[in-house]
Each structure stands twice: as C-alpha cells, then as structure tokens.
Amino acid sequence: MNTVAAPAARRNLDRLGEVWQERRGLLGWLTTTDHKRIGLMYFFTTLAFFAAGGTEALLIRTQLIGPEQHLLTPAAYDEIFTMHGITMIFLFVIPMTTGAFGNYLLPLMIGARDMAFPRMNAVSFWIFLGSGIFVYIALATGQAPNAGWFDYVPLASKQYDPGLNIDFYGYGLIFNGISSTAAAINIIVTIFKLRAPGMSLSRMPLFCFAFLAAAFSLVFALPSLTLAALFLELDRQLGFHFYDVAFGGDPLLWQNLFWIFGHPEVYIIILPAFGIATSIIPTFVHREMVLFPLVALAELLVAFLGFGVWVHHMFATGLATLVTVYFAAASLIIVIPSAIQIFAWITTILVGTPDFKTPLLWIIGFIVFFVIGGLSGITVAAIPFDQQVNASYYIVAHFHFVIFGGAVFPILGGMYYWFPKVTGRMYHERIGQLSFWLSFVGTMVTFFPMHFVGIDGMPRRVFTYTASAGWTALNLLESIGSYVLAAGLLLVIVNLLVSLRTGRPAGRDPWHGATLEWETTSPPPAYNYAVIPTVSSAYPMWDAGDRERDEARLVRGEGLLARGHETPATTVQDGTLDEVLAMPAHSVWPPLVGLLLFVCFVMLLLAHFVIAAAVGGALAATVLAWHSSEPHSEPAPALGESPVKDGAA
C-alpha cells in the first residue's frame, strides 16, 4: 500500500496519530488504557511468574531425581508443589492467555481500536499484579500455601494448618479472581459489540470463539471458587463451620465447590490455546479451516459441558454410583467436541500445503501431546479405572500432557507467530526450530514415564520414595527430561530477546495471515486501524478486494473516526454498525484501585476487618471519582468543511 505517496492519506494518518498519542515514560505505562500496552504488561509479568513456577518445578524434579533426597524438607516440598500449581494456573496460564494474548490480539482481530472497557482492562492488570505479589509475599515470608493447589479440607482447616499459609491461598485466589472476572467481562463485550461492520457471528475468527468460550466459563466458574475460599476463610478466621463434620459441616462441600470451578478452569486454560492453534494452522497450510462451524461449536460446547463433569475429580470419595454416573456420561461425551477439533486441525494440515515453520511445529507438538493427554483422560472418565489411579502420578501425567502440552505449547507457538507483528522483526527460524525440538523431547521424557510410575503405585505429592519401590530409574529419566525442557524454554526466550535487536524487519504480513491484525503495521500504531476495515468473510486478509477498498477509503478519509478516541460498535449477531463510541485515554484511577484493593486484602489476611472496611470505603470513593470524567468526541465540523475530507462523517 502506497499511502505515503498520497498526501491526503498521510494527513489522515497524522491526525489519527495526534488523537491517539500515548503518554511517554513510566507515567505513561502506569496510566495507560491501551490494550496493546496492557497486553505487553501482562505478557512480561506472566513470564516472570512462569519462571518462578518453572523454578519450583525444577526443585520438585531435583528432589525426586533419586530416592530419599534431602534437597527440600517435607514442609518445604509441600509449599513448593502448592506454589507451583497456583503459580502456573492462576499467575501464568490464565493471565498469559486472556490478559496478554487476548488483550493484545482481540481488538486487532475484530477490527476495533481497543477493548470495550479500556479502564477496566487496566484495572484487571493492576489487580492481577497485586494478587501475584500478595501470594509471593507468602513464599518470601516462609508461609506459602502448603496443602496443594486444590487445598482440601480438613488439611487446610485452622486445626491442621494454623498459620497464615492457607489464608494467603484463600484471599489470594479471591483477589486474583476479581481480575479474571473483570477481564472475562471485557473480552465478552468486546467480542459481542466491537466487531468491525460486516463481521457477523459466522465471520468471526475462531480465535474469538475460543476466547468467548473461555471468558464465559470464567464468569460462571469463578464465583464457585470465590465462595469456597470465602467459606474457608470464614471457618478459619471467624469460627464458622461449613467444612467441619462435628458441627454439621462437610469437607466434601469444599471439594464440590472447588471442582465446580476447577473443571471449567481446565477448559479455561485450554480454550485460548485452541484459539491460537486455529489461528496458526490456516496461515501455515494456506487453507481455510475444515469444518469451520463445527470447530466454532466445539470450542463453545467443551466450555458448556465442562460445567457438568466436576465430580469426576471425586470418583474416589464414596458417592453413590447413580450420582457419579451423570458425570461419567458427560465426561465421555465431552471428548467428542475435543475430537472434532483435533480431526479438523489434522485434516486441514493434510489437505493444505503445510509450511513447517516454528509456529506450526509448536502446534503439531501441541496436537501430539493433547491427543496423548486426551487418551489418558478418556481412561479416567471410567469410574473403576479412575478409582485405581486417582492421586497417583498417572493423573500428574494426564494433566501435564493436556496443560503443558496442550496450553503452553500453543502459547509458545503463538509467541513466535505474533512476534513479528508485536515487534516488527522476524525471529531466527533455525534457533526457533531447535527450541521447539528441545522442548518437545524434554516434555515427552519428563511426563510420559509418569504414566508408568503412576500405575506402578507412586502417589502424587510425595516428597520422596524408597529405592525398593522400583521407581528410581523412571524418576531419574523424568528429572533429566525436565532439565532438557528447561533448556528448550530458555532458548525460546533467548531467541526472542536476541531477535528483538538483530531480527530482520518483518513488514506488515510476513506469513500471509488470514486475520485482520496482519493488515496494520508491525508494530501496530496506537489507533490500530487508520480506517475501520470492511469484512466479508472469516478470512478477511484473503479478501483482496476488501483490502483494496480500505486503502481507497484511507485516501478519501472515510471511516477515519478521528473526532476523538473513537471505535464503532455493532450489533451482536450480524455485526451491523450501530453507534460510534468514544473511548477513554489515560487514567490514574486503575492503578489506584489496584493499590487500594491490595491493601484491603492484606488487612483481611491479618484479620484487621475494621481497617479493611475503611479501605473499602476509600475504594468506593475512588470508583466514584473514576466516573468524574467521560470520554468525548469533538462536535460536528463547521459549515463549509467537507465531512468526508475531515473524516468526521
């Protein structure tokens, strides 16, 4: 596109650039509401937590490298595996997918200029950061949560865990949940209302369907966790009796409430990864996704059915079979939508012309691991088999295949895929491929043997084992695998960091991608799109006519929406243009809300309820002040000025 040569186009771009100017320096980042900056903040923060969770994993594997090792005491080991689980799930995978990928890419993919609620977007980040720091203060002060990431009572009750460890867990998860709920609401409204005109539901990228499903699951699942944690803290701090049998409570109430959240949670983890995979595959096989409507449905159905399977985590608790059978039936059928997706991906690769670049390699690795993890998942959907392998390393193998192989691999593939768009530079392909192979082999060697030691009787969460158990060789292999995996992951980071400085310029669309983010510059300008794109299909970048029309409109100044921070809103079903919204720019309120909420939770943790209430009052005042200003658009141009030239029509 030769916009520079067209002075009218240049003028229009400059005008947009002025309107959307980002504040510079630290203050600019602190007060930003731009989805791309927020996405980047999420990205780097979650990577830091990934490193922490990974270090915890390496400590676990080093402890288990041989029988009766003493690297960690039993108490320390309990804290390390609990923090590993909490960190990876709540502080890495969810915020990385919804916060980093979702925030950065969703508005770009739908042709919008920001998320639906930019200030709430910022506050989601600050709350997430606060919750992560909150939980890690626990580790730093030697009081980390230590009853496992699902924290069963009565072990987690005050009687058996009297310190602050579990209170950090309970309040930390409620705190973190506020961030994720806000982010999820933002994602849903953005996808529903901010799509470019013409982008009906059937023309929405599959990435959006996946994120929509994950976001709906977050909204409906998190309250259950909040409730479980609230009951736990009421029991622990105020002497309530939800979970203790002596006063009519029930420990299984915790398990039910937790897993009503916990099972949808694992679909929340995997669905964005499906979205990333369904973005990468069509691009690198140069073909539209086979069975598009069924893949879209499968993403939503997996999330929906995921609310009806939670008791499969409780098959060994002695419930009546005629209750558990409801869950076994749903657990078996839920395999089918996942299988639909797998068959669609594989078929698309087979009938397309695959170009085995690094991003596609990560996705193929993901498919391999997800199939293996899915197969072990089917086996544990059968109640009798699950009762044999529950709480053994077989389960550890299963969930690492589906979570690590199934979610982290697409994340890494996505990092490589969108690196050119975000940075404007290409990564080094050969090193990329090496990083993939190291990680693939490392993952396989770490987690596959766990199936065998699990069936052989090794329980999960044990801090050591005896030589006579016969698990030594496989544990050694697993630990070596984990070091290889760590090397692969480090190589990913090194590759991207080096490429940031020495990679060749990427241009707008190095991959000939199908979705709209490849239309704009790399990196995108603050306003994303100079003109709001025309959309006629689910693969807008492959509709050359529409893209040429967009270029012509830029020259004419049509669809510029430059009278403020403006973006169009459309109807939910058919993407019909409905109104032009004015969006907020910089705001000081989100970081302030994050800070106050952090103080509030610290007070609750320390049982200073009156102070917590006072801080709550300050929060209410801050939220009131938040609404003191509203974004505006400039009024219509004066008579005599052409509305088309001004871009104000």
Binding site: L201, S202, L294, A320, I336, I340, S536, Q573, D574
Partner: protein, 132 residues
C-alpha cells in the same frame, strides 16, 4: 413487518432454539436428576425418599426429546438457508449467519441427547444408593 422480516424472525427463533434446546435439556436433566440422586442417597435418616430411578428416566427422556426437537429445528433452518457469501448485503449476511447457527445446532443436539439417553438408561439399571 415485511414478509422477509417475518421469515427472518421465524428462522432466527428456530435457529436459536436449535442451538439451545439440547444443551438446556441436558442442563435441566443434569441439575434436577443429579440433585434428587444426591438428596436420596447422601442424606441420613432416609429423609428424602424420591423415586430416583423413575425421575432420572423421566428427566433423561425429556432431555432426549428436547434434543431431538432442537435437531429438527436446526435441520429445517439448514435446509432453507444458504451459506454466507462474500458480501456486505445485510440480508445475505443474516442468512449466512442463520445457516451457520443451523450447522451448530445439528451437531450439538445429538451430543447432548446422547448424554441424556446414557443417563436415562444407565441410572435405572443401577442399584439404589450403592457406593462406587
């Protein structure tokens, strides 16, 4: 409203019924059936003597039937609409979206109906309140 508008409204209702009937049927069957089973089997003193074999067959059967109705609705919309063409014409976009929803409905209803059938047949065959 014009005849075309009426047609679109009718098809829209059918399409969404086709998408939601099966899942709603499964959800209701799941909630009520599972809760009654829990009340019957997990409460001491035989407080809740619900006839769970009968109720699970009834709820499961109802969910199954709702799934079949949803399938029929989705199929009728699928046959009378065309896939999404590459156009900016509003009517064509709507029709393409309806065709897409119909495809979704035709896939989701057999799956949810299958769960309802499995439970409707399975639960009555099980002994009452035996721990697994």
């Amino acid at each position: 409203m014009s005849a075309t508008g009426e047609r679109i409204r009718r098809l829209n209702t059918l399409a969404w019924f086709g998408v939601l009937a099966g899942p709603v049927g499964w959800a209701l069957q799941f909630l009520f059936g599972m809760q009654l089973g829990l009340a019957r089997c997990e409460s001491p003193n035989r407080r809740f003597q619900f006839p769970v074999h009968t109720t699970s067959a009834v709820f499961g059967g109802a969910g199954f039937v709702l799934g079949l109705l949803g399938l029929a609705a989705a199929f009728s919309v699928f046959r009378t609409t065309r896939p999404d063409p590459h156009t900016q014409d509003a009517a064509a976009i709507t029709e393409g979206r309806l065709h897409f929803l119909a495809a979704v409905g035709m896939t989701v209803n057999p799956l949810t109906a299958a769960i309802c059938l499995m439970v409707a047949v399975g639960v009555p065959l099980l002994d009452l309140c035996v721990q697994s």
